[in-house]
Symmetry: D2
Subunit: 410 residues, 4 copies
C-alpha cells in the first residue's frame, strides 16, 4: 500500500546510515557538551560539526515541498515522501537541526518562501536555508487562549514609516538560542476592523531590535529544552520599518492559517520515531533483564505491553501517512480533518507508549540515562503546542457532526 518514490526511498536509506554513523554515536557527547556549556543556549560544537557533514552528504533542507523545489538541492519532496524522513530524524530529539529540518525554522522558511518579498527572502530566507541563522515564530501570549488566533493582543501601531510593537509572548521556541536572529511576530494592527480575521499583521523583527526583551526561559516537566528552549518575551516600544510587514497589513491571520498543517504532522512523525525507538530498546531490555527467576521477554504482561505498543505505532504511522498523502492531493485546508485526527491522537498515544517503555526500564527509565523521559516531555508538550488537543477535538467534532448529519440516514 505504501508507495514512496525512489527519491524518498533512497533518502530514507542514506538518512538511516547517517544516523547510525554520526548521530547515535554522538548522543552522549551532545549531552556532555550541553551539561558543561557555559551558555545553555549556545551552539554546541557537535551540532555545528554534524551540520557540515549532513550538508556534505546531501541530507539538507529535505523539508522543502515540491512547489518550492527551486530552493532545494534534492528537488523538493511531497508531504508523503518526506514523512518517513521526519520519523528517522525524529528518533533523536536534537537531530532534525543537523539536517536543517527542525521546528520552528522549517515552518518559518516556508512562510518566507510563500509570503516573503525578494528583499525579505534575501535577508532572512537565504541564511536560514544555509543554516547560518535560526528563527522563532512569536504567536502565543500568556494572558489569552492563543489557540484562538483572533485573541492575540500584542499591539502593532503605525507611526509614519515605522511599526511600533508592544506586548508579551511566551512559549516562543528558539528565542534564546544563540543562532536565532529573527522573530516572526503576530500582533493586532487593526483591533477595530469589522472582519476579525483582518485585524492581525505579521512582522519580521530582528532579535536585536531595541525593546525586545527575553524575560526568562520556560520549562516543561522540568526540561528547558536547551539550547533551543522556549522563552517568555516582552516587546516594549519595539520599532521596525514598514517594509518588515509580511505579505501585507491585516493579512496575519491568513499567514497563520497557511503555516500550520504540515508542521503538526512533522511533530507527529518525530513522536512516532521516538515511540518506535523506545519500543526497540524495550525489546532489547526484555531479553537482558531477569526478575523473580523469569526473563522479562517471557513475562506475559511485558509481551502484552510490547504487542500493544507495536500495534499503536503501526496505526499512528498509517494515519499520518494517510494524512500526508491527503495534504498532497487536496491541500492542508481540505485535509484539516485528518490533520486534527493526527494532532489529537499521536501525542497522547506516544505519551502512553513512552510511559510503558519507561516503566519497563525500571527507575532508570525515568532518568537522563535514556532518551525516553525527555521524549515523554516532548509528547506531553505537543498536547498543548499549536493549541490544546481539546480545541482540535472541538473543531474536528463539529466538522464530522456537520458532515454526517447532513448526509442521509442509514
Amino acid at each position: 500500500m505504501n508507495n514512496f518514490s525512489d527519491k524518498s526511498l533512497s533518502l530514507q536509506a542514506r538518512l538511516q546510515r547517517f544516523m547510525e554513523q554520526y548521530i547515535y554515536p554522538n548522543e552522549q557527547l551532545h549531552a556532555h557538551q550541553l551539561a558543561s556549556a557555559e551558555n545553555r543556549f549556545g551552539v554546541l560544537p557537535i551540532v555545528k560539526e554534524l551540520k557540515a557533514k549532513a550538508r556534505a552528504a546531501g541530507l539538507w533542507n529535505l523539508f522543502i515541498p515540491e512547489k518550492h523545489a527551486g530552493y532545494s538541492d534534492v528537488g523538493g519532496l511531497s508531504n508523503y515522501d518526506y514523512a518517513p524522513l521526519v520519523e528517522i530524524m525524529g528518533r533523536v530529539t536534537w537531530a532534525s537541526e543537523v539536517f536543517n529540518c527542525n521546528a520552528p525554522d522549517t515552518g518559518n522558511m516556508e512562510v518566507l518562501m510563500k509570503y516573503g518579498n525578494e528583499d525579505q527572502k534575501r535577508r532572512w530566507l537565504t541564511p536560514l536555508l544555509e543554516g547560518e541563522i535560526r528563527s522563532s515564530y512569536a504567536m502565543t501570549e500568556p494572558q489569552v487562549a492563543s489557540s484562538d488566533a483572533t485573541n492575540i493582543e500584542l499591539s502593532i501601531k503605525t507611526e509614519q514609516d515605522h511599526l511600533v510593537l508592544n506586548g508579551r509572548k511566551w512559549f516562543i521556541t528558539g528565542a534564546m538560542y544563540e543562532l536565532t536572529k529573527l522573530f516572526i511576530v503576530m500582533g493586532k494592527s487593526a483591533p477595530d476592523h469589522p472582519d476579525i480575521h483582518q485585524q492581525q499583521t505579521q512582522v519580521l523583527v530582528p532579535k536585536d531590535t531595541p525593546g525586545v526583551r527575553i524575560v526568562r526561559p520556560l520549562s516543561t516537566l522540568g526540561y528547558d529544552d536547551a539550547p533551543i528552549g522556549h522563552a517568555e518575551l516582552l516587546f516594549e516600544d519595539v520599532r521596525v520599518p514598514l517594509e518588515n510587514i509580511l505579505l501585507g497589513e491585516g493579512r496575519g491571520f491568513e499567514i497563520a492559517q497557511g503555516r500550520l498543517g504540515p508542521g503538526r504532522i512533522h511533530h507527529c512523525m518525530r513522536l512516532i520515531g521516538l515511540a518506535q525507538r523506545a519500543l526497540e530498546q524495550s525489546c532489547q531490555r526484555a531479553t537482558q533483564r531477569t526478575t523473580f527467576g523469569i526473563q522479562f521477554s517471557h513475562n506475559q504482561s511485558v509481551r502484552e505491553d510490547i504487542a500493544k505498543s507495536f500495534a499503536e505505532i503501526q496505526m499512528m504511522r498509517q494515519l499520518v501517512l494517510q494524512c500526508s498523502a491527503r495534504m498532497d492531493e487536496v491541500g492542508p485546508q481540505a485535509a484539516r480533518d485528518l490533520i486534527a485526527a493526527c494532532k489529537i491522537s499521536v501525542p497522547l498515544m506516544t505519551q502512553t507508549i513512552l510511559d510503558r517503555c519507561m516503566q519497563l526500564h525500571g527507575a532508570g527509565g525515568l532518568t537522563a540515562d535514556y532518551f525516553m523521559a525527555e521524549a515523554f516531555n516532548y509528547a506531553r508538550w505537543c498536547r498543548q503546542a499549536d493549541g490544546p488537543d481539546q480545541v482540535h477535538q472541538m473543531a474536528l467534532g463539529k466538522q464530522v457532526i456537520k458532515a454526517y448529519s447532513q448526509a442521509g440516514e442509514q
Copy 2:
C-alpha cells in the same frame, strides 16, 4: 495513498447502492421475521429474497481471492481490494450472507478450494458457492484452551474404511442454522505422534450423520445470534468414510494454520463498518437532541467523543488496509505480525466506540431499537473468537521482542 483497483472501486459503488436500496430498508422486516419465526434458526424469507437479488446484481462471492479466480464471476480480488467491500457489507450484521460472503462459510469455501479433492469440491464446494447450503467449522472445545490448537481432544479413530469421532465442541457458528449441512471437524487422530503438529486431522462430517448431536445454542451477552448462532455439539461414535478426510491424515494443524489470516481481517473490517455507522448515527442524533438547553452537537464532550471516534476509525481502517496489502505481498504467514496487530486492536477499539455511541443515544441506545447493542456484542465476542486477545498479544510480543532484540542497538 489508497489505490484500489478500478474493479474494487466499481464494486464498492455498486455494493453501496445495493445496501441503500435493499438492505437498510429491510432491517426492520428482518428483525420482525426473526422475532416471529417459529424456528429461530430457520431461513428468513427476506434473506432468501435478497440473496437472489444480490446474485442477479453480480454482487456474489466477492470474497474469492485472485488465485482461485476461476470460482468467481467477478474474477477474484486481492485482500486489499476486497477489504472496503467487507466494511460496506459489515455495516449490517446480517448482510454479508446476502452476498454469500459471511463467516464461517467464506473460510470454509477457501479451505475446500485449497485442500479439497475433486469429489469433495463437487459435493460441498459447489452448493456452498451457490449459496444453497451453509457450513460450520468445528474446532473449539469447552474443556481445553482451544486457542492452542494442539490441545484439541476430540478423538478420531480409524476402523477399517471408516473414521469414528467422539468428543465435544462448542461455539460452533452456524451449526443450528437450517441451511447448514456440513461440519468441518478438527480432531486428534494420532495423540502419540512425536510431532505435536501432526496429531490432528480435519474431517468432513455431514450434519445429519448419526451420532452428531446439537446440545444447545449458546448466547453471548444475551444474544443467540440467530439464525446463524453458536452451538454446543456432541459427537458420539460418529462414523464417516475415510474419503471424508481433508488433505490427509495428520494434516489438520496445517489446514488450521492456512485458514486463519484473512478471516480475522474480515471480522475487523465488518467491525469497522459498524463503528463507522455508529459514528454517523451519533452525528445525526447530536443535531436532533437537546438537553439542559443545549443541542448535543454544541456540547464539548459530545464533540470530543465524536472526534476521538473519528480518529480511531481512521487508524483502524488504515491498519487493516496495510495488513491486507501485506498479505497480498508476502502471504498471511509473513504478515502475521500485522494480522495480530489488527486482531488485538480493532475489536477492543470498536467496543469502546460503540460504548460511547450507545451512551450518546441515551437508554434507548442499549435497546434493539438501534443496531449498536448487537454490534457491541459482536465486537466483544471477537475478542475471544479465534483465540482470546491475550494469546495473540503473547505471540506478537514474542515476535516483536525477537525481531528488535536481535537487531543492533540504537
Copy 3:
C-alpha cells in the same frame, strides 16, 4: 475504620448463610424455571418459595430506614448499616426480591411511607411490605431527555373529581411483572405554572386501569431482565380519582428529589457484590486452567488483572460506605456530591472489572453458563439508569467548581 452496628453485623452473617444455603444452590433452578416459563414475566415458583423462607428467617424488609422503623420487624437500619447487606444480596441478580429488598419497590415503599396518606398506605404500602404485590415508578419518557425531570411531558388534566392521564413512558422497570399492580406516575399537571418545579404531579395508577397499555418489553444488550423487565407504556385517557394524587398537586418534583439518593447507592452496592463475586470466581478459575504450559494463576497479566480488580473493588466499597455514612449524617441532599461520585464511578468500574473477569473465563465467560454477562448488562444499564453519567458529571462538576473557586486560593 468500618464500625457497623451489632445488628448489621449479625444480619450480615445470617444473610450470608441464607445465600449459601438457599440462593446459590438454586441459581440453576431459577434459570431453568425462567427458560421454560410460559409467561416470561410470571412469578417463578422458586422465588415464591424462597420469599417465604427469607421472611421466616427474619431477613425481610431490611431496607427500611431508621426513621420508618415502625414498619420493620428488625427495627430499621441506617444507610451505613444496610449497605453491606445490599452487597451480599446483590451477588445474585435476582436475590434482592427474595428479601423484599429489590428496586424499584424499595424506593416506591419509601415514597409511600414518606408521602402517602393513610388510605394510600393501607391500600398499597401494606401489600408491598408483605411482598404480595410489586410496583413500578413511571418517570422516563422516550421523546425527552428525562434526566432533566422538568422535561416530563405526560399530561395530567383534572376533570371534575378525576385526573386524566395521556402520554408515553419507557424503561418502566417491573411493569410487565405478574405481581405488579401499582404504577406511580409522574406527569405534568400545570405546564404553565411559572415555577417549573411545581408543574409536576405524581399519581397512583392501578395497573389494570382502562387506558393503560403495555406496548412492549425493552431489552438492553440482548437481555429482557425477565420476569421483572423494562416496559414501554402508553397512557390513553387513563382516569383515576383525585384522591390518587400523592402528597399534593404540583409536588411531583419534590417527591422525585426525595426518592433518589439511597436508590442510586443500592444499585452501586449490588454492583460491588457482583464485581466481588466475579473476582472470586476468576481466582478459582485461575487455579484450574492451564494454557501453553502455565497455570493462569502464575501468569503475570492474570495477576495484574486480579490485583487491579481487587484494589478497585476496595475503593468502590469504601466510597459507597463513606457516602452512606454521610447520608445518615446530613441527608441525601447535602450528600449529593458523594452520591454523584458513586453514580459516575461504580457502574463504569464494575463494567470494566466484569469485562476483565469474562475475558479470564474464555469464550464461555460471555455465555449464560456464568452470571457475569448478565451482570455486565446490569452495570452497563446503570450508566443510563437514573440519568446518564454525563448528567451527573455535569452537576457534580458544577458543584465542585463552585465550592473550590469560592474558597481562597492556595
Copy 4:
C-alpha cells in the same frame, strides 16, 4: 464513618493554619532560593527558618507511632490519625521536612527506634529527631532488580572488628543533601547462607567515611529534586566498626520488611494532597478563563474532568484511610494486601488527575509557574519507588488468588 481522635482533629486544624500562614506564602521564596543557590543540595534558609517555627508551634515529629510515643512531644499517633496530617503537609512537595516528617528520614528514624541499640540511638536518632541531621536509606542497586531484596549485591565482609563494604547503589534519596550525615546501607554479608533471607545485613555508615563516593545526582523527568535529590553512590573498601551493624548480622531482610508499610502509605497521602490541591486550583482557573466565548466552568468536558477527579480523590483517600486503620489493627504484615492496593492505585491515579489538571491550565500548566508538573514527576516516580507497580501487582494478585481459590465456590 471517619472518626479521627480529637488529637488528630486538633493537629489537622493547626497544621492547616500553619500551611496557610507560613508555607503557601513562601513557595515563591523557596523556589527563588533554590534557583539562586550556589549549592543546589545545600540547606535553604527559608526551610531552616520554618523548621524552627514549626517546632515552636508543636508541629514536629508528628509521624511517631503510638508505640514509640516516648520520642514524641505530642504523644504518638496511630496510622489512621496521622494520615490526614500527611495529606495536609503533602500539598507542598517540600513542606514535610519543615515538620521533620519527610521521607526517607521518618522511616529511618523508625528503624532506629525499633532496631537500634542505645549507642546507635544516641549518636543518630537524637539529632534526627531534632532535625539537625538527615539520613539516607541505601538499598536499590542499578545492576539488579532491587524490588526483590534478595538480589542486593553490595558486598559486606568482616575483617577483624570491621566491616568492609564494596558495591554500587542508586536512587539514594537525600544522599547529596548538605544535612545528610548517615547512610543505612543494605548489603550481602553471607551470600552462601542456605536461607536467602538471612544473607543480608544493614549497616550504619557515616556519609563522610572514606571510600564513600557520590557519583552523580540522578534526575527523573528532568527534575533533580534538589536539595534532597537522588544519588548514585559508590562504596569502595568502605570500613566501619562492627558495632555499626543494625540489629544483628544476617537480619537485614527482616529490617527491610519491617520498614516498608507505613512509608508507602505516606507517599500515597502526600500524592492525594497534591491531587486535591490541583483539583482546587483547576476549579479556580475554570472560573477565570474563557475560550471561544464560553467560560471553562460551563464547558461540559471541563466539568466531566473535575467530577471524575473529585470522585477518584475520594476513592483514593478512603482506600488509604482503610489501609491505615487496618495497619493499626493487625500490623503492616497482615495489611499487606491493602498496602499493595494503595501502592498500585494511588500514584497512577494521581498521575492521571495531574495530567488532566495541567491540561486545564494550558501550556503554562507544564511550567514551573505551577506546582503540578513537579507533582506529576513525584507521582510518576512513585510508580517505581519501593519497587515497580508490576511487582506489587504480582504479589497482590498471587495473594488474592490464593485466598479466594481456597474459599468455597459460590
